[in-house]
């Protein structure tokens, strides 16, 4: 793959086809862990790490285990197992090697197993980039960067909402969802952009 192709793929995964605001993947952590900018950024970093590594592992499982034996219909089961094991492994490794980072990400790590963005990226990679390791890796990493961008932006909006004056029945999730819809509208501006 040429550099321009990689750049275009990354940019489209981050902005044009943003996982959260355009594809609706990973909404649970997007709404659940976005009350504070720091925790949102922590979650974003954890997701970037897990999604990049998961893209590499699921690519290998798909290419060398499932496809040679014509077991493509087992993708969902195989991928979710790989992701669950990976998250567990990452958690153990961090606990030993990087205790400070583990402490700050601690509670978010197990949650990533059920983040549908991770399984979604594995399945999308198997659908679209089953032959190219680099494309899978870049797509996984940049989709995660897109997730982080969205969640950090959203968290900074939500922090300001604390002081906003809105009807009482909008308290909590409704006002957050309405502001998410405005953020999604902003991201619609990227639609139709093509790099190459």
């Amino acid at each position: 793959m040429s550099f321009t192709e990689i750049f275009g793929l990354a940019l489209s995964a981050i902005l044009i086809e943003n996982f959260v605001l355009v594809k609706f993947l990973g909404i649970c952590p997007f709404l659940g862990v976005s009350k504070k900018t720091e925790t949102a950024a922590g979650m974003g970093v954890a997701v970037i790490f897990v999604m990049t590594v998961a893209s590499a592992f699921t690519f290998a499982v798909d290419k060398f285990l499932l496809r040679p034996f014509k077991l493509e219909y087992m993708q969902t089961v195989a991928f979710i197992l790989v992701i669950a094991a990976l998250v567990q492994f990452v958690e153990l490794f961090m606990q030993k090697a990087l205790p400070a980072l583990h402490k700050s990400l601690g509670i978010y790590l197990p949650l990533i197993t059920t983040n549908c963005a991770v399984l979604g990226v594995a399945l999308l990679n198997a659908q679209n980039y089953a032959d190219s390791f680099i494309a899978s890796l870049v797509y996984g990493a940049s989709a995660a960067v897109g997730f982080t961008l969205a969640i950090v932006l959203f968290a900074s909006i939500r922090e300001r909402l604390e002081f906003a004056d809105y009807p009482k029945c909008f308290e909590g999730f409704p006002i957050a969802l309405v502001s998410a819809s405005l953020l999604a509208m902003a991201f619609m501006g990227f639609q139709g952009m093509k790099i190459f």
């Binding site: 609706f24 969902t76 197993t113 549908c116 999308l124 409704p174 006002i175 998410a180 999604a184």
Partner: protein, 220 residues
């Protein structure tokens, strides 16, 4: 007795509605509510998976070791999701095409794992099946409400049947991601408003039962 048996069902359907009250499983709720057919198809597929996985996990609840229970639940759920995916692929190819990625993603729907962890792992088989049915239909109902609003406003149709004639200025925005967030926000706001005003089907039912009871006691 009958009330106790069906309590989990009504809890899931109304008072603990997974989408509007517990706020679980938002991804499919937002993504597949662009048309009524999609929404209801998604809801029923998730219900099927939820009932089956609740039953199996409830049967196996004493065999699964505590430390690896989440992994075990996910494998059970993923197995049923694969089965449902193959059935939809074979019999409803158009639904399969329009739901796409979101059928395998039922695996990571928080509702299903949450019910396995919070209910099926602690309760008997029948109660778990009822809980699965109630929660599943609660989710389907939420999808139906969301998708009706979005399809009617965004497309001017209901189940592909045109409602307003040719000249209806459809607000395409409603079927785009923007409309998903907006509709869900407004629906939850409306529900919170109703609850704050003291309206809830559950409290109505409770008041009704309470008044019957006092009536009986008075008669005695």
């Amino acid at each position: 007795m009958l009330k106790k048996l069906f309590q989990p069902f009504f809890d899931g359907l109304l008072t603990h509605n997974p989408s509007f009250v517990l706020l679980l499983g938002m991804c499919p709720l937002l993504a597949t509510s662009t048309s009524v057919a999609n929404g209801v198809g998604m809801g029923l597929s998730a219900t099927a998976v939820l009932i089956c996985s609740n039953i199996v996990i409830s049967i196996l609840r004493k065999l699964i070791p505590n430390q690896i229970r989440i992994a075990a639940y996910i494998v059970v759920i993923a197995g049923f999701v694969t089965a449902v995916e193959m059935i939809i692929h074979a019999f409803l190819p158009s639904l399969y095409a329009s739901l796409g990625l979101f059928i395998p993603l039922i695996t990571v729907n928080c509702i299903i794992l949450a019910r396995a962890e919070a209910f099926a792992s602690k309760n008997g088989v029948f109660a778990s099946a009822m809980d699965g049915l109630g929660m599943g239909l609660g989710f389907t109902g939420a999808l139906f409400i969301m998708s009706t609003i979005r399809e009617v406003l965004g497309n001017g149709t209901f189940l592909d049947f045109p409602l307003f004639g040719e000249n209806f200025p459809a607000a395409t925005l409603m079927v785009l991601p923007v409309g998903g967030f907006l509709t869900l926000g407004l629906v939850i706001a409306a529900i919170q408003k109703l609850r704050a005003d003291g309206f809830s089907p559950y409290t109505k039912l409770k008041n009704h039962i309470q008044s019957k009871k006092t009536q009986k006691e008075a008669e005695q």
